[in-house]
Each structure stands twice: as C-alpha cells, then as structure tokens.
C-alpha cells in the first residue's frame, strides 16, 4: 500500500477511498460526540459542577475505582494467558497453528452477550461446575462466584485473551530465529535464551497488548452487568444508568469525557511504543 501511495502523488487513491467514510464519521459520530462532551459542561447549568461531582461523589469515585482495578486485574490475567497461548502458537507446527488460530478467532467472533450468559450457566449456584462439585461430594454448598467481582473478571478475561494473544504472537513472529540460534550456540540453556533474548524481544508486543486490553476493559458494559449481579458497576454501565434511569445527563457526559480522555491518552502512549498498524494486524 505504501508503495502505491508513493508512486502516484497527485490523487492518493487511499485518501480518496477513505473520504466518504471520513465525512460520514464526522457527521454521524464526531458531531454528536462533541455534543455529548458539551453536555458535561452545560447540563443542568453551565460550569464545571459535573466534574466536581465526578471528583468528589463517593459513589462515582467508588465506581471509577472498581473500573480501574477490574480492568487492571483483567489485563494482568489476560496477558499471562495470552502470552502462554501465543507461545504455544509460536511453537506449533503449521497445521496445528492454523487450527489454534481458528479457535482463537472463533471465540473472538462469538457475541459478548452470549459469552456472558454462557458463564452464567457455568458459574451459577445451580450451574454446571457447582452441580458437579456438589454431586461428587467435593463441596456441600455451591461456591458463590456468579454475581461477584470474580465472575466479572472471569468473563472479561475470557473476552480479552484473543486481544492479548494476537499482538504478542505478532511480536514473536517478528523475532529473527537466527538470534535465538545464536544464543543457543553460545551455550545458553533454553530457559536462559527465553529469559534473556526471547522475552525482552516480545516486550513491545506485550506492552501493546497490555494497553489494548486495558483500554477495552475500561469500556466493558454487558459483561459486568450480567455477571456482576447489579453490584459491580463499571463506568459504561454507570453512564448508561445515568442517562436512562436517573436523568443525570451532565454527570454521564462528564464520565464519558473522562473515559474518552483516558482512552486517547493510552492510545497515544501505545502509538509511541509500537506502530499502531502492526498492533491492529494491518501489517502482520
């Protein structure tokens, strides 16, 4: 693509093709978005009171804290699982790898709603796991997982593993195998080669995955709503309720602005660490 762009300077076909989409986005997305941001400063009265509420209200602060720590824990767990999966992918033969990739992408395509309800079936007090544990006599009372933050984390990690594994796998594939061979030939054990050479070389992928997963986690809506049992409220659900249930549009807009600002800041950070096109698979 970059070759083509460089040769035909007069009308960049890429830009021409993107123009209608950009115009559509501007009218249908950017303009309404700016109106929402404006609500944060103008509803119910002009001023910064909504931001004061966000900063000082114990309820809002507790919600923001819940959002942050759930996203943090999810990111760590998704990275560990994703790294292991990416490593397995990297080591697998071509056929095996194709199957594994298909499995990973397949889970990515299943609707988030269906996945959350699947966890309800699995984790519930009368769910598959608890019933089995009770029937085999391992436990007497079902373990309370559903409707707790743990259930929310399980659901979120499940959703995030593919998003963590793919950039990491991408980074692994970019490693020159000769570097690893050189390490081995210099007498390094496999563990040492992994620790000193392989792992550091996957760091950019790991960091991009971390930011990507964290950003996505911040915006989770359906999963905490279903698995959290109304107790674990994250920012997206909070905004939804502040718009629909209790009309607090100003505070909702302030929270949305905050979420957007954090997302932009993290994406900017991500852009500094890695080429965004690589992260999103544009140049795999």
């Amino acid at each position: 693509m970059s070759e083509v762009a460089r040769t035909s300077r007069r009308i960049d076909p890429a830009q021409a093709l993107v123009a209608p989409l950009a115009l559509g986005l501007l009218l249908l997305f950017i303009v309404p978005l700016l109106r929402v941001l404006w609500l944060g400063f103008s509803e119910p009265a002009f001023g910064l009171q909504n931001y004061v509420t966000v900063a000082t209200s114990p309820g809002v602060r507790a919600m923001l804290w819940t959002t942050a720590w759930l996203s943090g824990v999810t990111t760590v767990l998704a990275l560990i699982t994703g790294y292991a999966f990416a490593l397995a992918l990297f080591c697998a033969g071509p056929t095996q790898r194709a199957w594994m990739l298909m499995g990973l992408l397949f889970s990515l395509w299943v609707s988030v709603l269906i996945r959350a309800f699947a966890w309800v079936v699995v984790l519930g007090d009368q769910g598959v796991v608890n019933q089995w544990l009770v029937e085999t006599g391992l436990i007497e009372q079902p373990i309370r997982v559903l409707h707790t933050p743990t259930a929310v984390i399980i659901g979120m990690v499940h959703y995030m593993v593919p998003l963590a594994a793919l950039p990491i796998f991408n980074a692994m594939q970019g490693i020159d195998p000769r570097v690893l061979q050189a390490g081995r030939s210099l007498g390094g054990s496999p563990a040492l080669v992994f620790r000193r050479i392989f792992f550091p070389l996957t760091m950019p992928g790991l960091l991009s995955a971390a930011i990507l997963v964290f950003v996505f986690s911040l915006g989770f809506y359906v999963t905490p709503a279903i698995l959290g049992g109304g107790r674990t409220i994250m920012i997206a659900e909070f905004i939804g309720r502040a718009v629909l249930d209790v009309p607090q549009w100003g505070v909702a807009a302030a929270c949305a602005t905050l979420l957007l600002a954090i997302t932009f800041a993290l994406m900017a950070l991500l852009a500094r660490i890695a080429d965004l096109r690589t992260v999103f698979g544009g140049r795999a």
Binding site: S57, P58, G59, V60, R61, A62, M63, T66, G124, D125, Q126, R144, L146, H147, T148, A225, G229, G230, R231, I233, F238, R241, L244, D245, V246, P247, Q248
Partner: protein, 332 residues
Amino acid sequence: MAGWTGRAQARARELVVVNWGGAAVKNYEIAYGKPFSKSANLDVVIDGSGPLPGRIKAMVESRQVVWDVCDADLFTAMKLGAAGLLEPIDYSIVDRTKVEPGYAVEFGIASYIYSWGLAYDAKLFAQTPPVTATDIFDTKKFPGKRALYNGVQSTCELALLADGVAPESLYPLDIARAVKKVKSLGRNLVLWSRDAEAQRLLQQGEVALAVLGHPRASLAVRDSGGRVQFTFNGSMRSAGAWMVPKGNPAGAVIANQFIASTQDPDRQLQLFLLHGSGPTNPAVEPLIPTDRQAFNPNTAAHRAVQFRRDDQWYAEKYEEASIMFRDLIAAR
C-alpha cells in the same frame, strides 16, 4: 424525524398509547386498543418504547410531541404535571370515582395496580415460608441469595421495615439507613434491573427469594410449575397511571376519552386475565374467577396485608433518592 411522524400520525387520526413494552403491547391492544379503535373510529397504536420521564420532558419542551397517552407511575404524573409538562385529566370525561381514593390526581389517574411482593423458592422453604420484610433480610433463617430491585422502590421500604421502622413512619425514606441494611446482605445480595431478570433468577434457582411486581411474579410461579411461590404479605401497593403529554397530537379530548374507555370493567378484567395488571375499578372485583384470585391485589385479604407507596413523596424526591441510592450502593 420525530416531528415528521407526529404530524403524519395526527393526520391519520391515530392515538398513540405508550407503555413499557414486551407482552404489554399485545395485551393492551386486545384489552384497550381494539375496543376503543372501534368505538372512536380511529387507530390506537400501542408503542412499547417506555414512557421515561426524560423522554416526555424532551418531547414537550421541543414541541415534538408524538405520544397521546402514557402509562407510567402515578408519581411520575404528579411530578411531570407540576412541571407543566402534562395536560390535566378532564374529569368531566374520566370518572374519578372509579378508582380508589388518592388514585385520581390533577394530572394522572390510576391505570392499574401492581404490588411489589415476595416470591420465594418453595422447595427450599417448605416448612416455614418467608412472609415478612424481616424474613427477606434474615439470611440465617432463610439462607440463600435474594434478588432485590436495583433502585429505591420496594428495596428501601422493605429494608427499613426489616430494620425496625414502623410502617406508618416509612416516609420520608431514610435512604442511607436503607442501603446500609441492604448491603448487610453481603454476598447474598443480587440486584436486578429488569423484572424479567428477577423471574429468570427465581426459575433457575439462582436466588432463594426475590422481590418483584406481582404480574411478573405470577409468571415465575406459573413457569416454574409451582416451585416458586408468591405472597402479597407485606407487599407495596403501587399504581401505574395514565397521563397525557401537553400538546398531544390527537388532542386532549380524545386522549381523555380513551382513558375513560379503559375504566370499563370488562376491559380491565380482560387485561387482568391476560397480563396480571390489577384492576383499578372496584366494579371488576365480582367478575374475577376464583382460580385467578391468588394474584389479585384487590381482594380484602390481600389489601389488608399490603402497604401503599407514598406517591407524593416519590413525586418530590424520586430523582434525588435514586442518585443517592446508586451512589451508596456503589460506595464501599
């Protein structure tokens, strides 16, 4: 877009009635829509998109009113009416004596009765079923998760009753005290946002008991084959209400005529049989078949054990209390 449909509807002689959707769309059509369409010679459209106060406010203030009659809570009618967003009910057309005292106010009149009551898993509590607000919060005597409404209504009233507040001094609700009691349930607490959710939790055996409106509870009882039971004991009697947004497209007279038509005992009986909504007109009572009395909030026995929601308090404090409830539930 909204304005365009509004004008189109006014030309087509339609009357748009808004409720909370789901099965209520079809059931309202059968019980109220079709008979009125015939007698008034116009099309009644039942719109299930939900008459949220914010939407009514936005419509009236932007003069893009597309709804003629809304079926929301009585306190919503009081609140929106006081804010100048509703047409007053025309009591020369609508009969205020066909509802119980207090349920006909300037800007709204009761459309149906529903009661926030206790449903429980009868398999778990076969010997001594839970019957009071205290039982709902007693996890020793009645172990298991409980599903309460994720909002002020019923949850705060029952928490305060369980905490020792006398029924006559419930209002004004002490939200902070109520939430403290609610949170004392710890891991046994599940909060539902849509009553279909409460029904599912009960039927799947995920919760031992739940507080929900009696029409939805009756579905849980029916669909669980009787494993789920329901009691009106200590339940909160509440009223939905008809209200007319100011400047409604079909005109206030037709809207009021529609409201008057829904006071007809046969039509209310029909809706009760289809949907479980408690009739507001006392004349319906003798018509209700014996096998449906278990879910009729209006029998003398059921009336005696319910308490009534204070709509006046809700009209004044609902928003403030809802925000406080949400924030305190979220806080650690």
